[in-house]
Symmetry: C2
Subunit: 246 residues, 2 copies
Amino acid sequence: MLHRFKITEMGNRAFWLRGKEREHLVRVLRLGPGDRLIGFDNSGGEWLAEVAEIAEESVTCVIVAESRPDVEAHREVVLAAGLTKGEKLEWVIQKGTELGMRSFIPLRTKRSVLRLEGGKARERVERWQKIAAEAAKQSGRVQEPRVRAVSDWAELPESLPRGCQCLIPYEAERVRGLKSVLNTLERGRSVVLLIGPEGGFDPAEVAWAEDHLQAIRVSLGPRILRAETAALAALTMVLADSGDLG
Amino acid sequence: MLHRFKITEMGNRAFWLRGKEREHLVRVLRLGPGDRLIGFDNSGGEWLAEVAEIAEESVTCVIVAESRPDVEAHREVVLAAGLTKGEKLEWVIQKGTELGMRSFIPLRTKRSVLRLEGGKARERVERWQKIAAEAAKQSGRVQEPRVRAVSDWAELPESLPRGCQCLIPYEAERVRGLKSVLNTLERGRSVVLLIGPEGGFDPAEVAWAEDHLQAIRVSLGPRILRAETAALAALTMVLADSGDLG
């Protein structure tokens, strides 16, 4: 399989790779003039190209062919997850990207042990975006998911897609299963999954989401799932429902 | 929520906890006479009980009430996954247990970097069983998944449930999606998911599974999933299909 690179600058018959992408091509993969690769620019397209010239600052790649692979999920699914400590969010972002998540919103919740403010928050978001970019590359996606700024509940509505349906897996919901809700949802509609931190959402947060986001409480079954497991299971169910997972 | 303990010995009106379970109750949770807890013995039942006596070797718990919670997945799903290095299988087992996997079979495959034989293999299986037991407890299950011995392809058939349907997610399969296959599958039927290692199955292994296990090749969509992501996504889709995930 050809290696994939994120295009730094796009031209008419060629594109250029700089910075990390150039380093990776030259130092790690040791590609040289004549070698073929695939470039993508998050526009949804990808380009088969040939390395033409390797300069100090950039690598020039001559375009051989253009394509728009049908690799992105058709249903837009946004994951908004409560901040949790450790690496859990990192692999939710990695796996979520492979599965087809469109964007990720780190959410400050009452029971979030991890506190992220100001510079620390921005740094973490940058790292999460890198993880999403890397996973997008590896999974062959042509658009990397956007990792949004760390949000409070009050800021959440701004970052949600128009006319989206918010779903909130909640252990206290025993009757309404996610599956039954998906059966009633129009295919084209964007879905936002609200996932609690370790220890789950505070009841007041669930009530707020129901009032302000018209979020529907759903059950993921009788077993207690960890936050990260709930996130990936719900994401999988929503994307499978829209035929985006085969 | 009451703490859950695996019963060491079951009596008529009481049960006993020994070894690690006793240690955990006494040392970590510091429970004492009169404290309530839940005991389970992997038979499908669970018992509300009260600590009666803490002795050197065992803790006596007097049974207050018995119940058979409907917490286990109704469809039997077995995960047979190619050996992969690092902790990946550990968390596939942990997450798979939360989701409702009934048993796990570590599979030696051509592209498995990790090699496990004899004593090393048995030790690893023991550790995996502990992880499954812990996850079963945390997720409120009443039967912990069984982790089978590390198997070669030739040994695999023996450990599969009667009349099961084997499904093998395979990146070269572009047409037949897992979802469409599930739609044609009887609800009651056990499902075995064959998941490749990093780098995927060798084509000869897929052909073997088709010939000897009547395995059906399925696609999980156009994005390339890591082995561990494919395992959990497929498990989620199969259990969601049978209504076992809400």
